[in-house]
Subunit: 517 residues, 2 copies
């Protein structure tokens, strides 16, 4: 694909010994006779590596190593899986994991601590919701965290209660009430989590990713891995908050490190929570909870001060905004500071899920990047209709409107909230249908983008969003040779076939770093 | 100098393009005709770069940028200098600095907050003692830190009082009472401090140094400098405590980074304080304070647990021990764990200043490194005689006895407590006389080492103490080309001439990194 998004066919690729592309060979073009080295791709399909614009590297690894409830279809099934995990992992007193979703279970309510009674006697249990915006504790965990009827919800959070008694679910900032008691992972655990995440990403053909919310300890793990030469996937790091960014990098981003494998370039901030747990901040109340508008995480002056400090220190600003009020708040903030912070700033709004139609054109101003996750649309649509009612969905998951408004689109998966599989995201992006082909013809299909636009947003769009377009994102002279070998041609495949694409090999910087077994 | 400490004469040095020595040319030996590049040293004297085995890199830089009282001869002179600094630096509300020594002033007591009344009206003042083991605050600083008659000395520290009222001096751990209120330096300040320290060290011909007590923020500054290619001096880092080491490096040391410029290899621990402030932990009471034995920083089980945790994670252990009781405690600890932690551990005792004669032979066991600072002996001797009485000085600053016992000697300066100047340390090491030639014939001259032994301890000894003897420390095939050009031959110079040696150029890894103006 060229810079403008037009696919390019080629039959071979030449590169330097340090893994940069020198030339794409066209059909019939003479191949050089002398090569230091060659690999025969046997006529298979080669694509540029994918760039995931929004993921959580360490969480992906930790979740892969922890108890995973994301495939459970009922509460009973989940309980059985928890009990089995507890029996298998007797060396870990705390049972940690996540991936549950009461919507998938058709439970019609949050689960409770009572549901966990007898599942793992005497051991604390703490399980994150699939979107990371709520956690579920058992009575042992609540007792160890000293949660009681006297506990009060912190700002930006909510303790779910039955009457006055905390019943086991802690929403958004309230999760900290339990998390402060959970034993912290050791550096060795962090190394393992990184390597696990890296293997998963490479296995899906993702050769570069944004890490949205790098903690100091995450960063130290990346440095350990980089120092040992164990980094394969490229990580565009966005520090968790301004203080972390400044503590690590001082003024401005770090240089690209380890041969363009790692760079701390920006700061991740939060304007609100998520839709599933009704933490997304809305202009009008939730349709299914008429007394709630969700949670604005920060007052106007606080969020602006943080955005301003990040920009002042030379960092890129990426703000999570899901509800229409949160999106408006950040758009207002950017409007207010573009005159102060000039130049190529690439302000990012992460998710930009629910946007008031009158705010959509504002994404085209000031070079804003809309960092969006196509699979969220297919996972969320029924829940979103319940939360918002159909009248408010005109500006929801509005990829095509964003493009038309002139926003820069960057696609990702928000792993581990969703699978990092880029083929699923790619198919969703131009069909607005899920893996089961639902709803037929696509949900609000006018917001689909083309197959090529989606591909761009999953490669060059992601690189551009991370100030990396001169380094990687496409196969062209001077770019890093990051590519994948797949089992079919995704430009010719039906959406269902596209979803079934298997990655056979993944190469980063001219080195084979993953291969299907 | 060869591995065994015998000086080698050479007339030229060949190296690879990446700055490693390939050959030393002998007099009369044919020079290669074709060279990519050459530098003519014009017949001047070339020596291997010095290795300082015990310094505090960031403190050196911060102190060089802060108010320096180390050259003041009286309290009045110090007050005038503080007032001048305050007038010049109106942008900094806090007046921070150090280097004072009531012994040098002949004050016969600690200074007090009252002495600072009117020196910088309305502004907080906080000044470290030359040895870093005490701090001096004015009344504004004490008020901002909420120090009052109700303040109690923390474990391992002492608030100096007049009657029941804190009078301005805070010894050892009590310094934290004020320090928690002092504004923290920003990352940009840390960068400046590193660069300042580096320039000072290179200017003294020091091409590698141990950093004894690297904090997380220090480490992040080294990484910023290394990432930007701004690191010139080699830093063998010893993390400030086990938790810091593990948080940064996980299990075991980091690799050598940036072309052997940086490695976190060990952990710095403290067994006691310093002699000047009577914080050194003695077997019997101080001669000049018969009710005080000094301060053991940690109980037996606590210090052993820390040493054990560090060794278990693969880190080298370096423990500050000044008093004879502290030295005995660490020797006991090493004895107790050598069977558990086998292999090449190179246990380090830092300072090893006052050692009971019966404990001296124990330094020869278990491959212990005595990391000592010759200049401390010349600076301390009068104070040491006052503190200990002459009967207890048999095992004091006992370099020669250490060598004879079979300890590995590594010399350093403990900068910024002393100047990093290695020529001053070298001259003191074989004369036991200070810069004024006092006392004539040397103080307890039987503890002098030879000129060559001292040179070894300031080069190869320091490299060995940092597990770096295969990287640098001497000029030989395969070693990094770290060398200096000086204005005289230190092997032929009188002690006074040696002290006057000027460094003309400093080269690290084959690159000129400093030149005299």
């Amino acid at each position: 694909m060229d810079k403008d998004g037009k696919p390019i066919q080629f039959t071979g690729l030449l590169m330097t010994t340090d893994g940069k592309v020198t030339k794409l060979l066209q059909r019939g073009e003479k191949r050089p006779e002398k090569l230091d080295w060659r690999a025969d791709m046997k006529g298979r399909v080669m694509l540029p590596g994918f760039v995931d614009s929004h993921g959580h590297v360490m969480e992906l690894g930790f979740r892969a190593l922890a108890l995973d409830l994301s495939d459970t279809k009922t509460l009973e099934e989940a309980k059985a899986k928890i009990a089995a995990y507890a029996a298998k992992n007797t060396d870990r007193r705390w049972i940690l994991g996540g991936g549950w979703n009461q919507e998938t279970w058709g439970l019609g309510r949050f689960p409770t601590a009572a549901d966990l009674e007898g599942v793992a006697p005497g051991r604390p249990i703490w399980l994150s919701r699939a979107d990371g915006h709520a956690g579920w504790a058992n009575s042992v965990a609540m007792a160890e965290a000293k949660v009681s009827v006297r506990s009060v919800s912190p700002p930006g959070g909510r303790i779910e209660k039955t009457g006055t008694v905390p019943n086991g679910v802690f929403v958004d900032a309230a999760q900290s009430l339990i998390e402060k008691t959970v034993p912290q992972p050791l550096p060795g655990d962090r190394n393992s989590a990184f390597l696990k995440a890296q293997a998963i990403l490479l296995g899906f053909g993702i050769t570069a990713t944004a890490d949205m919310g790098t903690s100091l300890d995450d960063w130290l793990a990346y440095r350990r891995m980089g120092d040992l030469g164990a980094m394969r996937v490229r990580v565009m790091s966005y520090a968790s908050g301004v203080d972390t960014a400044v503590q690590i990098a001082g003024r401005g981003p770090t240089p690209w490190l380890y041969g363009d494998k790692l760079r701390l370039g920006g700061v991740k901030l939060y304007a609100d929570g998520a839709l599933g747990s009704r933490g997304a901040w809305l202009k009008a109340p939730y349709s299914d909870a008429p007394k709630q508008n969700g949670l604005g995480f920060m007052a106007e002056d606080v969020i602006r001060n943080l955005m301003s400090r990040a920009a002042l220190e030379g960092f890129q600003v990426a703000v999570h905004a899901i509800g229409d009020q949160a999106n408006a708040q950040i758009l207002d903030g950017i409007d207010a500071m573009v005159d102060t912070y000039k130049g190529d700033r690439r302000w990012r709004i992460e998710h930009a899920q629910i946007v008031a139609p009158s705010d959509l054109p504002r994404f085209g101003k000031n070079g804003i990047i809309a960092s969006m996750q196509p699979v969220h649309q297919t996972s969320d649509r029924i829940m979103a209709e319940a939360r918002l009612g159909s009248a408010r969905l005109t500006g929801a998951y509005a990829w095509n409107s964003m493009l038309k408004a002139g926003a820069k689109l960057a696609f990702g998966s928000d792993y581990p909230v969703e699978s990092p599989d880029p083929f699923a995201g790619w198919a969703a992006a131009f069909t607005r249908m899920d893996a089961q082909g639902q709803p037929f013809g696509g949900w609000r299909p006018e917001e689909a983008v083309t197959r090529e636009q989606a591909w761009w947003a999953f490669t060059q769009g992601g690189a551009y969003a991370g100030f990396a377009e001169e380094k990687f994102g496409r196969l062209a002279t001077g770019q890093r040779a990051d590519f994948i070998i797949v089992d079919r041609d995704p430009l010719a495949a039906s959406p269902t076939e596209l979803r079934g694409t298997k990655v056979l090999e993944t190469w980063v910087g001219g080195e084979k770093v993953w291969e299907a077994k």
